[in-house]
Structures are given as C-alpha cells and as structure tokens.
C-alpha cells in the first residue's frame, strides 16, 4: 500500500502518508462537522435520560411504548407497500422501453420524466394529488360525473394511508425505472438467443435465465425504494398535516416541541430510524455487488 502511494506522487520524493491526507482534510472536516457530529449527538443523547445519566430505557421504550411501535409499524408498512408496488410498476415500465420493444424515442422520454418525477416530491407533489384525487379533484370529478362513481362515498380518502401510498408511488416507481433500465440493458441479447436456440420459449427464458439474473438488482432496488419512503417527511406532512403518525412525522413533532416529554426518546426514535436506513443501504449495496458480478 505504501508503495503505491509513493509511486503516484508526481514529485520524486516519498513523503510521509499523513501529509497527503491533508488534501482531503477540508472534505473530512466538513463531513465531520455537519454530518457525523449531529448524528453522534443524536446517538449519545438517545442513551441519556433527563438528568444526563446513561440509560437504556429510551431504547427499550422504542419497542415497548405502543405509540412508538405503531409509528414504526406504519412507516414500515407504507415503505414496504410503496417499495413493492412502485418496484413492480417501475420494473414493468423499464422493461417496456428496454427489452420490451418500444421505440427508442420513448425510452429517453421515460428516463427524463422519471428523473423529474423522482425529484418532484414534497409540497408540490402533495398539492398536485389534492388537485387530482382530493374531494374537488380532477379524477374525483370525472369518476363522479361521467362514471357515476363517488369514491369518497365508497370510503376512499386521499388523506389516509392509502392516499399517502398513492402519492409516494409517484416518486417510487420512477426511481425504480432509473435503476432498472441500465440493469435491463445488461441483459445480453445473446442469452435470449442461446435460450431460444436450445429450445426455450420466451416464458422459459424469463423464468430460468432473465429473472434469476435480474433478481439481485430488483431486490436491491426495492430495498432502496423502501429506505427512500421511510425517510420521507415533507410529502407526508404537506398532505396529511401530521395526521398519519409515521416515524418521520413523530420526529418532526418532537423537534418542534417536546411532545414526548422525554427528549431522549425523540433521539432514540431518530437513531432507530437511522438503523433501519443503514440496514437497507447495506442490503442494497450487497445486492448491487452481486448484480455487478453477473451483469459484467
């Protein structure tokens, strides 16, 4: 290792390693001050009670306090539902414009739109859905006036779990498209031809070759989608104003005013969330590595 470091220097003399690290010092300092330090603070504070002593009670309460358990349950549910739903729809759309045989121009249209839609979260998205499926919304009107179906009478409510899921899907499935399109490109045409040549039908090819090869990619992407939904705050708040008690909303409430009457608990919730996100990131990375090996 030290050998390489010396050879790469444009000047001839070997300097001690630490001087070279000065080059990345600003970046590391920045990351420390504004990323690690805040996270560390949350971490240590979650193990502190109101008197400043070390305690595990906050962490324990994460699993025992029904209010908190419910928040996590809701968050996990909505993240899972939109990850799978968005994953399937996103995969099918990515399939349609890559292997599925649609004209090339549609592919770049879809990619651009996916880039837009996956960034179009937060307040404007919530408003857009209110204008679409709210009580006076565009689709609500069409369904009522032309098809005689009143979805609100039938029990639908945009400001509910189902409604929020629909809104989340708007940025979930484009993200899936963006991840899966390159992966689907990695499916070599020769595999399909070789399978056909050996007697396989299209279905057999997909079941035995294409889907198994794509599986790590698909699973990894869905895990990423899960994390993506789990960490979302602004969209949920703008749409439901805090009525649906997912973890991010609860944390937001805690930041504004100590609604839990125990600051340590708020930090613990935050750390719990970070753990979930870290696990999902690790899962995604591991599956990505596997994908790369096969689709090289």
């Amino acid at each position: 290792m030290a050998q390489t470091a010396i050879q790469l220097k444009s000047s001839g003399t070997a300097t001690t390693n630490w001087r070279v690290w000065l080059g990345v010092a600003p970046f590391l300092l920045f990351a420390f001050l504004f990323l690690f330090l805040p996270s560390l603070r949350l971490f240590t504070a979650s193990f502190t009670d109101s008197d400043g002593n070390f305690t595990l009670s906050n962490i324990i309460q994460l699993f025992s306090e029904p209010f908190i358990v419910n928040a996590y349950k809701l968050s996990i549910q909505i993240s899972a539902v939109t990850a799978v739903g968005g994953g399937i729809l996103g995969f099918l759309m990515a399939y349609a414009v890559t292997v599925g045989g649609l004209p090339r121009s549609l592919r770049s249209v879809l990619i651009t739109f996916s880039g837009v839609a996956s960034n179009f979260a937060g307040v404007p998205l919530a408003f857009a859905f209110v204008a679409t499926l709210g009580r006076q919304g565009f689709i609500t009107h069409i369904l009522r006036d032309y098809l005689g179906v009143n979805i609100y009478d039938a029990g639908f409510n945009l400001y509910s779990f189902a409604g929020l899921s629909l809104v989340y899907m708007y940025f979930q499935f484009p993200l899936m498209v963006l991840i899966m399109a390159p992966a689907l490109d990695g499916l070599k045409r020769e595999w399909r031809e070789a399978a056909e040549n050996l007697g396989a039908t299209t279905t057999q090819y997909w079941l035995r070759v294409a889907l198994p090869v794509l599986l790590p990619s698909i699973l990894g992407a869905m895990i990423l989608l899960f994390g993506n939904a789990f960490g979302a705050y602004a969209t949920a708040y703008a749409l439901t104003g805090g009525r649906i008690g997912i973890v991010t909303i609860q944390i937001g409430a805690q930041i504004r005013g100590d609604v839990l009457y125990n600051p340590g608990l708020g930090y613990a919730m935050a750390i719990g969330m970070v753990v979930i996100m870290a696990v999902s990131l690790a899962g995604y990375s591991w599956l990505q590595a596997k994908t790369e090996r096969w689709l090289r």
């Binding site: 920045f30 729809l89 991010t248």
Partner: protein
C-alpha cells in the same frame, strides 16, 4: 413475413404498461394545471398572475435561488479538489469518501436537521470546560444561513461527488494532468485550463440537480426557520387554493427544465434525488 408473425412481434404488453405508467405521471400534472386555471373562467391565468404578484413569493423564491447558488459554489470548491486529489494522489481515501457520500441516505433530511439543531443551537464550549468558543449558530441570521447551506451541501453531496468523479474518470483526468505537467504547465493552468473545462458537463449536471433539490426543499428550511420558497409554498397552501396549484405547476416545469438540461449535457442517464 406473414401477418401472424408480424403480430406476434408487436409489443402489446409493453405499450399497456407504458400507457398505464404514463397516465400515472401525467394525470396529477394535468389536474394541477387544470385546477390552477379554474379560478376565474374569464381570466384563466388569474392564479398565476396573483401568485407572481405576491411579494413574498419573489422574496422567498429569490432567496432559495441564492441559497442554491451558494450551495453549488461551495460544493464545487469543496468536492472538485477532493475528487481530484483522490484520483491522483490518494486512492486509499476513496473508500472512506465514498462511504461518506452514502451517509446522507442513512441520515435523511429530518434526522439531519434534528441533529444540526441540537448541536448548533447550543453554544460551543471547549469540552469539559465552561469556556465559550462560539455562540449558538442559530442565534443569528448569518449563522442560520451557514447552517442551512451546510445542510443542503450534505443533501446534495452524494450526487455532486458522484457526478464529478464520473466526469473525471471519463476524461481520464490523471493522464491529462501528467501530459500537461510534462509540457510545463503550472497548477493554476492545470486547474483552469485542463480540469474545470473537461468536467464542465459533470459540474453542470451536479449543479442542476442541487438546484432542483434546494429550491423545493422544505424540511431543513422550516425547522431552521429560514424564509425559503418551500415553507412559503406550504403556508400558501394553508390559506389559498388556486395560487398553490399554479406555483406547484410552475415548480414542476422548473424541475423538468433542470432535468432536461441534465439529459442534454450527460446524454442519457437520468439522475434521481429521491424523496424529501
């Protein structure tokens, strides 16, 4: 080729999925646009007029743009040399830096702002002493601005870094630097004439993405008490009906413009910034 074999080749299901997805994309936008026009049947663009007449809109929108610009500039100053240094002098740091750029995914905006507030709203003491180093940043406006720009930089960092790093790899910045050095160029020349011009499209792409993230951002802005466009829009939604729809549609158009420009400069790979 006969009719049946041609029919067999028609991608029916592909079209179906594409149309379903397309509708999902388009209908909310259509609905927003339609709603924004429906205030006054005689003046279709009344909502837009009113929205743009509001002084607060301009103040917050311009302010958000300034914040975005600041984020972009400081990010470039921080990240470009770092990426370059890693490429040329310190490949060992690569794993560490790439790990750091993944962290913002693990620490989303709501958690980040939680931590930032807790740290920087208390005064800085030298540990274990009572000696005050600095007042809480959140006490004064400039401090809050520094904080929010730093926060935005953290949010945008993964995309900016990845964009710059890919750009440098594509042009093989290392060989270019060595060629320039062998021809006698000094560092200033290398930076201005070799590095920056060659990663121009990567910088633009990163900048546009940062712009898209910052202008619409709500979480950091509202918790830190900054008068940015995001909180303004949210507040507007509490009191008004048509103007928020108009501004949401405009915001969509802006995002589309930014993404379209990125497509133009990078030629194909979409970029996703994820949920807020």
């Amino acid at each position: 080729m006969n009719f049946w074999s041609r029919l067999r080749r028609f991608p029916l299901w592909s079209w179906i999925w594409f149309i379903i997805g397309g509708l999902y994309f388009v209908l909310p936008l259509l609905a927003t646009f339609e709603f924004s026009l429906s205030w006054d049947p005689e003046i279709p663009f009344k909502a837009y007029q009113r929205a743009f007449e509001d002084n607060d809109f301009w103040e917050t929108f311009i302010y958000s743009n300034i914040l975005a610009l600041a984020t972009i500039v400081v990010s470039i100053i921080l990240i470009v040399p770092t990426a370059y240094w890693i490429r040329l002098r310190l490949p060992e740091a690569r794993r560490l830096v790439e790990f750091i750029t993944l962290m913002p995914f693990v620490v989303p905006a709501i958690i980040l702002v939680f931590g930032l507030i807790r740290i920087y709203s208390s005064p800085f003491n030298i540990p274990f002493t009572d000696i005050r180093l600095m007042q809480p940043l959140t006490n004064f406006k400039a401090g809050t601005n520094i904080l929010i720009v730093a926060g935005y930089m953290v949010l945008a960092m993964p995309y900016m870094y990845r964009s710059v790093d890919t750009g440098m790899r594509t042009v093989d910045i290392r060989t270019l630097t060595e060629a320039a050095q062998s021809l006698g160029a000094n560092w200033y020349t290398i930076v201005t004439k070799i590095i920056l011009p060659n990663i121009r499209s990567a910088l633009l792409s990163g900048a546009l993405l940062t712009f898209a993230i910052v202008v619409g951002e709500v979480t950091l802005a509202s918790f830190l008490g900054v008068d940015a466009f995001g909180p303004y829009l949210f507040l507007l939604g509490q009191h008004r009906a048509y103007e928020p729809a108009a501004l949401s549609f405009v915001s969509f158009l802006l995002t589309w413009l930014a993404m379209g420009l990125i497509q133009l400069f990078t030629g194909g790979q979409g970029q996703a910034a994820g949920a807020h």
